[in-house]
Symmetry: C2
Subunit: 595 residues, 2 copies
């Protein structure tokens, strides 16, 4: 199906919006009137710009407060409409959106509304324009799609149809099944938006919190299914008002927007992109650093051993059990200090995984970083993290491990079994995008988002996982764009005895994050522990939590650059210790050098 | 009355919170449990720190899910309570807050709740501790203050009383009059918070949107009046959960918080600070600039003349009619370019105005900037703008004008009559604070806040004015802390013929902000203008709006440094052209050099 996006969904000038929509790959746009008013381009120039960019102008919007008003008001409206139809002719737009009236003088009279809309449609027809009438969820007298359709039906004019908007329909709790009784050719337009399920004033909800399909809680696909059964063959168009997107760069937002429509079409069975290939484990995590020494010291103390070195690049492989961490000191290493740059995901079908990612607009990275390297499929996540699709133990497939030459090494200390989870801090403006990316591109499941109190603001965190928990990624975002989210990036290593692992780490010279004594007094108040257990936790800085599935014990190293490590003993527990995160965050702030 | 603040209302570590509360002048604090858990200080050290800072610990909070639960659960709760009472003894806190249960196993049984609370109070009594039971607005079975009080009354224990919280009471729409039937000595604590009137889930509303009394829409003073009639003599304590305050610096937030309690006590008639002295006009606006030339050129083209120079400092007075603008190039001039640094407000009683400002915690500036200057009363607003209380035309009072020596000057061009309004961009974290400051300190009236769409985010704007509109200040704030709000700072000059004023400005070499042609096509669609009128507006870049009171015509100069000027013809109109602001903002963005 054709894809379209309302210019109001993207930030910037009209030119910037159109460019972003075109680059992402949209077929068309809805021109939001205020974007046109504020543009220095004439309508003819906008038309030419759209043509150059390969964008059709699918809708001009909105025209407000037209119908069911006193006669003199309506006459002024017709005069206004004539101006707008002339403008649309210059623009080359042939469909206009009319929202149900919120005018204080509008009356509750469907016959009058139909009469007015018929007159408007008569005028529109002279200009070759179609009028799409939409029920605003907060319309004064018309607020449901079926009511709007009854008025359109009564007006009975070829240039008059209805516009359906998933937000207005689903936010009211209307049953979208009734859409099927509308003839498809009378559905002139379909606007799509999702939204988180919030109990709030619907106007505020609509203006500030809409999001792209799949990012919120609405069954947008279910609604579209009903629309398609009518024979509707217009575009799928996104109209999303969102305070965050207004500030975000238009380019990434447009890509995210189009991705949401691609996933929606897949859900509907309209298209069949390559199927998701869910990763089955974490092959490695790659740290970049200007100086390998500090992070190597921590890895060594954690019990990992330096087992191999890349054949041609300054990259070391540190390993213990299934935990593999690459330490990369190449020139490309980030200048902002030690950071988590790449993740290797075990994939049943690395090429298929990359093909799906590419089909869903993820930037594909060159298959070989150097000519002699094994050809690895890789894409970039929205936060810039490189995702490599790996087949570590299958000889028939290219293996990243083949690029590494074993080195003689002292055995590491057993205790660490693998990577429990990875925590990635996300760019503030692209948190919802990151979740949709990991869900749709990687086929991971997104857990509920949780708020975590940092001493300097609320953090949000949301985990994406595969079914058996062998891949867990915690995505987090600070309270504000200015927020320092360094504390959110870490590698959690799984152990079946966190006390022993923490003790060994400390004995090997590692520094654990000190946890306040008050925390342990509170644990003592909340739980009964075996003799000496709490004293051990207190001594080592081990935190404790439990859920319905089991217990959780974990501790943290101090931070190296932008990364720290966690030791995690997960005895059935399914969470990430969010209960303890405020204490951890405060301890990390306390431990930072005063600016 | 004693003033107190919950540590959760302020950002930072516990130490930072306590320091901020003490410096602002609070008498005591409520210690929020999570702040204690995350602190490296022992309870004894916290106690000593509070004593050093002159703060009492008025409350330890909260204890949750205590009552009306199954017996084994309650026994665990008593065990937990004993730990907490021991902690409170170390802390020197003698009152604990118990919130009504949200436990999934809690039963709707007031007798059981009373029985449990009595047992808890028995235990508390052993430690010399009082239990204050509070109804959470979302409590599972107890969610109103009168219900909580009935249970406390039934439990009938000297160590058990109730805690009243204005948010929980007013957010539920409960009638606070019933408070008067509670004996004052059984009201163990009073927590105050205001909130904007939002239709949203009460838990989310409470956790993210509370604000200080006078910043929201609740009648907090009315509620406190009922409480005082009971004989309550405990502290007025602020408990405010707010996403913005969590990120803001604790120091200014604490000052703002205490100011809200001072104003509240004045409203209640408990205290009588110096009465507000409402300003009666704008004496001058002062620009600081590293280079007087560009801004002087604009002022000259606007028709102002350089009429006087400061006796001892590089400050020029530019004047036309009642519009007076100081251009200050002294070393103290801001290094970040030309900006609006000070406002002179005509005051019927400059000293009284300053005394009130000081009583409400505004930083008082030295009365003389130099020994030979006239002694001027001045304070700093939260955004750093200096406010001078002036008596320009009253010989009996010190006059700022006396510091200036007239210079020979070419007559300016008539047309500008005075300063219509001043627009000040506010620090993102302190917008609500700014409004409360201007209302309470200056006695100005705050209009409704409006959202304005900037191409890169939503701006908020709120005007404060005196009764006759001779003082109008528009406070605005960008979409996010990172936002570039340079476009928000400007001086609007009143004229009774904006067309003539704009033409003269342009003819004198001034550069007006170009407005897109599309804007005028839209004006033509919306209004009928006299022949040629619209063409004139289009030619000059004049914008148009109207409201129920009259018409508004205005235009803008290009920006100099961080400031621009507006020419305003206000024929009865009461607003600020918010309708046109998105077009203006887009034009300003378009005119900025590409980074």
């Amino acid at each position: 199906m054709r894809t379209s996006i309302a210019t109001v969904s993207l930030s910037g000038s009209l030119t910037e919006k159109l460019t972003a929509a075109s680059r992402a790959g949209f077929d068309g746009v809805e021109i939001f009137e205020n974007d046109l008013l504020a543009s220095p381009l004439t309508p003819e120039e906008i038309r030419a710009r759209c043509a150059d960019l390969g964008l059709s102008i699918d809708l001009y919007q909105p025209m407000r407060d037209i119908e069911a008003v006193p006669a003199d008001e309506f006459n002024r409206n017709l005069r206004r409409a004539r101006h707008k139809f002339e403008l649309m002719r210059r623009l080359g737009a042939d469909t206009v959106l009319v929202c149900s009236s919120v005018h204080p003088l509008a009356v509750d009279d469907d016959a009058l509304a139909a009469y007015h809309l018929r007159q408007l449609a008569d005028l529109a027809q002279e200009f070759g324009i179609r009028v799409a009438y939409e029920a605003l969820a907060w319309g004064r007298h018309v607020s449901t799609y079926d009511h709007a359709w009854r008025i359109v039906e009564a007006a009975d004019h070829p240039a008059l149809g209805t516009c359906l908007d998933s937000f207005h329909i689903l936010s009211r709790g209307s049953d979208p099944k009734g859409i099927e009784s509308i003839p498809g050719e009378k559905i002139f337009f379909l606007q799509l938006a999702d939204a988180p399920l919030l109990a709030m004033d619907v106007l505020q909800w609509s203006r500030h919190y809409r999001c792209f399909p799949g990012q919120g809680g609405f069954d947008v696909a279910g609604l579209v299914r009903h629309v398609l059964r009518t024979g509707y063959d217009g575009p799928l168009s996104l109209e999303v008002f969102n305070d965050v997107f207004r500030q975000a760069e238009a380019g990434p937002t447009a890509v995210d927007a189009l991705r949401s429509l691609l996933v929606l079409q897949e859900t509907l069975g309209v298209t069949t992109p390559p199927a998701p290939v869910v990763p089955t484990g974490v092959a490695f995590a790659e740290l970049v650093t200007p100086d390998a020494e500090p992070v190597s010291a921590v890895l060594g103390a954690l019990g990992l051993a330096r087992t191999a070195r890349h054949r041609s690049k300054p990259v070391d492989l540190w390993q213990q059990g299934e935990a593999r961490i690459l330490v990369n000191t190449s020139g490309a290493a980030r200048r902002d200090g030690t950071g988590l740059a790449a993740i290797g995901l075990e994939s049943p079908d690395p090429t298929g995984a990359a093909r799906r990612a590419e089909a869903l607009l993820a930037p594909v990275l060159p298959r070989r970083r150097a000519p002699e390297d094994a050809p690895l499929d890789a894409v970039a996540a929205p936060d810039g993290t490189e995702l490599f699709f790996c087949a570590t133990r299958r000889d028939e497939l290219p293996n990243w491990r083949a690029d590494f030459t074993d080195v003689e090494h002292a055995a590491g200390t057993p205790g660490v079994q693998g990577i429990d989870h990875l925590a990635l801090s996300q760019p503030w403006h692209h948190f919802d995008e990151a979740t949709l990316f990991h869900r749709s591109v990687l086929g991971l499941h997104a857990q509920e988002s949780v708020d975590v109190a940092d001493p300097y603001g609320l953090m949000r965190s949301r985990a994406v996982t595969n079914a058996d928990g062998s891949v867990r990624i915690a995505l987090s975002v600070g309270a504000a764009p200015t927020d320092d989210t360094v504390h959110a990036q870490h590698i959690a290593l799984a152990t079946d005895d966190v006390v022993a692992a923490a003790r060994r780490f400390r004995d090997a010279g590692g520094r654990l994050l000190p946890i306040p004594a008050n925390y342990y007094d509170d644990l003592a108040a909340r739980y009964a522990f075996a003799d000496g257990e709490l004293e051990t936790y207190r001594e080592l800085g081990i935190l404790y939590d439990r859920d319905a599935h089991g217990e959780f014990r974990h501790c943290y190293t101090v931070t190296v650059g932008r990364v720290f490590f966690e030791l995690v003993q997960r005895d059935g527990y399914r969470g990430y210790g969010a209960q303890n995160a405020p204490v951890r965050l405060a301890a990390q702030h306390a431990g930072r050098p005063v600016q």
